[in-house]
């Protein structure tokens, strides 16, 4: 039954369910391996799964490409977009907003924490000189911005937050192998809780594999993914701090 708010994948004809898969199995190529790949695809809900490509991927491993027609459908009426909701403002509007509604400069401390040394992302948000033609937070006259750089231990970040009476902490996490970002991000919330500071700061995380949803799950206020612009972040901070201030 396809109701109008149900959608399926689509290749050749609407709602045919066509999807492409690829994966490796720890089996040598052959009839059995192919059958295993087909089965796996069937378990994923594919009708008529077809293994269109099988090749040895090192001794004892095979790589597969599979096409098939996925039975599953998604009810779009049940979905909620899980990105941070932002009413974006312009550079000038943001400064004016802070000046008029909050009436003081906001203190924002940023760092790429743990052993992560990818600064390009957080610099894109922070740097004076800007990124892709948009100024970073350091340029905003109504924001005091500190960029602590990369490989900053959480303890140092918390100390800096305390020292600067930070309104918002911006944490960047790029390396995610074995969920290192998760343990690192969790450690920060624990430290802040332990210091009794958690309620006093807006806690924001960003990075290419970060979603707003993940951020919420980890006890952060917001998460920003790939393609984030400084204005989005600044708009969010200004509005959210004003909102909280209002009660």
């Amino acid at each position: 039954m396809m109701r109008s708010n149900f959608v399926k994948a689509y290749g050749d004809a609407l709602n045919d369910g066509a999807v492409q898969l690829s994966f490796t199995l720890p089996l040598s190529p052959g009839g059995m391996a192919k059958e295993a790949a087909r089965h796996l695809a069937e378990k994923m809900g594919l009708d008529q799964p077809e293994v269109v490509h099988m090749v040895e991927a090192g001794t004892g491993f095979s790589f597969f490409i599979v096409y098939g027609f996925c039975r599953h459908q998604v009810d779009t009426s049940q979905l909620q977009a899980t990105e941070v909701e932002i009413q974006e403002m312009s550079f000038n509007e943001i400064n004016q907003y802070i000046q008029e509604r909050i009436g003081r400069r906001l203190n924002v401390v940023a760092a790429c924490t743990g052993t992560d040394a990818h600064t390009v992302g957080i610099d894109a948000i922070m740097n004076m000189k800007g990124y892709k033609g948009e100024y970073g937070l350091e340029r905003y006259s109504w924001i005091n911005a500190w960029n602590m750089g990369s490989q900053v231990p959480n303890t140092r970040l918390v100390a800096e937050a305390k020292k600067t009476q930070a309104d918002a902490l911006l944490v960047s996490q790029v390396v995610t192998q074995r969920d290192v970002h998760i343990s690192n991000l969790s450690q920060l919330t624990e430290l802040l809780e332990a210091e009794g500071m958690r309620q006093n700061v807006l806690l924001i995380v960003g990075g290419p594999r970060i979603s707003h949803q993940l951020a919420l799950e980890l006890g952060y206020d917001a998460g920003f993914g790939p393609g984030t612009t400084p204005r989005q972040v600044a708009s969010y901070i200004a509005r959210e701090i004003y909102r909280r201030q209002q009660g």
Binding site: Y10, G11, V52, H53, V55, I65, Y67
Partner: protein
């Protein structure tokens, strides 16, 4: 980037091909076919169907049964109108419903009928000219993308799904959309009627389907700010008829190649060469472009061994097209990127072939086909093969560039396959846009040697074909490794000798025009 080709060898090729085409032309001029005559009827407005059977078919069958086809369907229709003071439609209706036996009517002579013929032709000629003008205006207002033009196919089998997919492709950058035809249609000796949703591996070519897609593409093109070309097949047993429908519905390109039908559809060679000539006259008049099918040879024959057959066939197709009144810029000769990807230095040979074709036919909108034969289920590898193909195309300045699909070996393209193909071409061609101008090819290298070798072999082959004639060459399996006999294949029973008083005012007009202007129906 330029190859140093020997002009003397090129001249030999053209001369032999001219000879071959001349021989074929002699043969053609004396004959007509059922499809050609149906096309004439369609040009006179007979485009309806009765219980899904086109009136043009029924009409021609009646005339053929009465042994009258040698005089030309136009004659009988015009004579009917003249004698009975009826419209063409009225005459046709009566004939096919059995109410009227044309052979019982008095038979006016040609001179007497000329005003009637003139009147019957006029509306279609005007319509085609209008379409031509419309295209020219659109093109000069909106323009097209830079060459190579990006050509994609849609092939859902359902014209309405085709429209969705075509519109999506235009939004992604397609310059040209071809609606692929259902399997089997090429062997139908009639053109189906109305809109259709039940093709396999393609959608029926019908006038209504043409119209639906033309409308959708015009709209999508306006939105995208460029003119989008529409392509279908004037090919198979109904070549000339589909040419007419294409002209009426403003198709911009038509796959059109008798050799393809002979080799890959086992259509009788006499039949389809006759059909081809008239279809090309119509396409020429409509200001559209033909696409020839040499690329297909390399799906059955080896691209390294048999490359010269592609080149030879291009020369023949060029000469046949010129004889039908097409201009160079309307002759989209086909070739393809079909060398086994595992070959060391294979890319050098591909560059040689593509660049050679470019130089041999400098004004032709060369139709360059992507890898198909050596595509596999490995879509990642396939994406790269298409990438090198795209690179070769922009490097050598091809005209009409068919996009390769990652799933070529699996299914007719999904909407995302076309997306990936367009992204591939856009990226590679843009990133290497002027690379061709930067580089020159060593005269003593492998690329030059390959081009020289293929060209010389093509010349030798053409000279052999010129000697024995095209029919005999096809009987010997000289193209695509496939042998076909002169009297075998489908459709021979539809070939008829023209009477001395054969009447086909369109053909007369087009032949005359071609003689004077060299193709197209306007001032340029």
């Amino acid at each position: 980037m330029k190859l140093n080709l020997d002009q003397a060898v090129i001249n030999r090729c053209r001369q032999a091909a001219g000879h071959i085409a001349g021989d074929v032309d002699q043969f053609i001029r004396q004959r007509t076919t059922v499809s050609l005559e149906r096309a004439v009827l369609r040009l006179m407005g007979i485009n309806d169907a009765m219980d899904d059977v086109p009136v043009a078919n029924l009409f021609v069958e009646t005339i053929q049964a009465g042994q009258g086809l040698g005089r030309g369907a136009a004659y009988w229709l015009a004579n009917g109108c003249y004698q009975l003071k009826l419209t063409a439609d009225e005459v046709a209706q009566r004939v096919v419903s059995g109410q009227l036996d044309l052979f019982q009517l008095p038979q006016a002579d040609r001179a007497t009928l000329n005003p009637t013929l003139e009147k019957l032709m006029q509306p279609t000629i005007e319509k085609i000219k209008d379409q031509h003008r419309f295209r020219k205006d659109k093109l000069s207002n909106l323009g097209m993308g830079p060459e190579p033009l990006l050509y994609v196919i849609v092939a859902t089998g359902d014209i309405y799904q085709d429209v969705d997919q075509a519109v999506a492709a235009v939004a992604q950058g397609a310059d040209i959309v071809a609606v692929i035809r259902t399997t089997g249609q090429s062997l139908l000796d009639y053109v189906p009627h109305g809109s259709t949703r039940e093709g396999f591996g393609g959608t029926y070519a019908t006038q209504e389907n043409f119209r639906i897609m033309r409308e959708a593409l015009d709209e999508a093109g306006d939105k995208a700010g460029r003119y989008v070309m529409l392509v279908n097949y004037s090919s198979g047993l109904c070549m000339p008829e589909i040419a007419v429908l294409g002209a009426l519905e403003r198709l911009d390109m038509m796959l059109n190649d008798a050799l393809y039908g002979i080799l890959f559809r086992d259509i009788n060679m006499q039949r389809t060469l006759i059909d081809q000539h008239f279809s090309r006259q119509i396409i020429g008049f409509a200001g559209a472009i033909i696409n020839t099918g040499e690329d297909n040879y390399l799906t059955t024959a080896d691209a390294v061994e048999e490359a010269h057959t592609v080149t030879a066939s291009q020369f023949i197709n060029e000469q046949l097209a010129l004889l039908a009144g097409l201009e160079d810029r309307q002759i989209g000769l086909g070739h393809a990127f079909e060398i086994d990807p595992s070959m060391t230095d294979g890319l050098l040979l591909e560059i040689a072939q593509a660049q050679m074709a470019r130089q041999l036919f400098p004004r032709a909108p060369l139709k360059y086909m992507p890898p198909t034969k050596h595509m596999t289920g490995d879509i990642f590898q396939g994406h790269l093969q298409n990438g090198l193909f795209n690179l070769t195309s922009v490097l050598t300045g091809q005209g009409v560039h068919l996009l390769g699909m990652v799933t070529e070996a699996i299914h007719t393209p999904y909407v995302q396959d076309r997306l990936l193909a367009l992204q591939n071409a856009r990226y590679v061609m843009n990133n290497a846009r002027n690379l061709g101008e930067e580089l020159s090819i060593r005269d003593d290298g492998k690329i030059s040697a390959r081009a020289r070798d293929v060209l010389e072999k093509a010349a030798q082959m053409l000279e052999t074909v010129a000697e024995i004639g095209l029919f005999a060459a096809l009987e010997r399996g000289m193209f695509a490794d496939i042998e076909r006999s002169r009297d075998g294949g489908k459709g021979l029973d539809g070939v008829v000798m023209k009477d001395v008083d054969y009447c086909n005012p369109f053909q007369e007009l087009l032949t005359q025009q071609a003689g004077s202007s060299g193709g197209g129906n306007d001032e340029k």
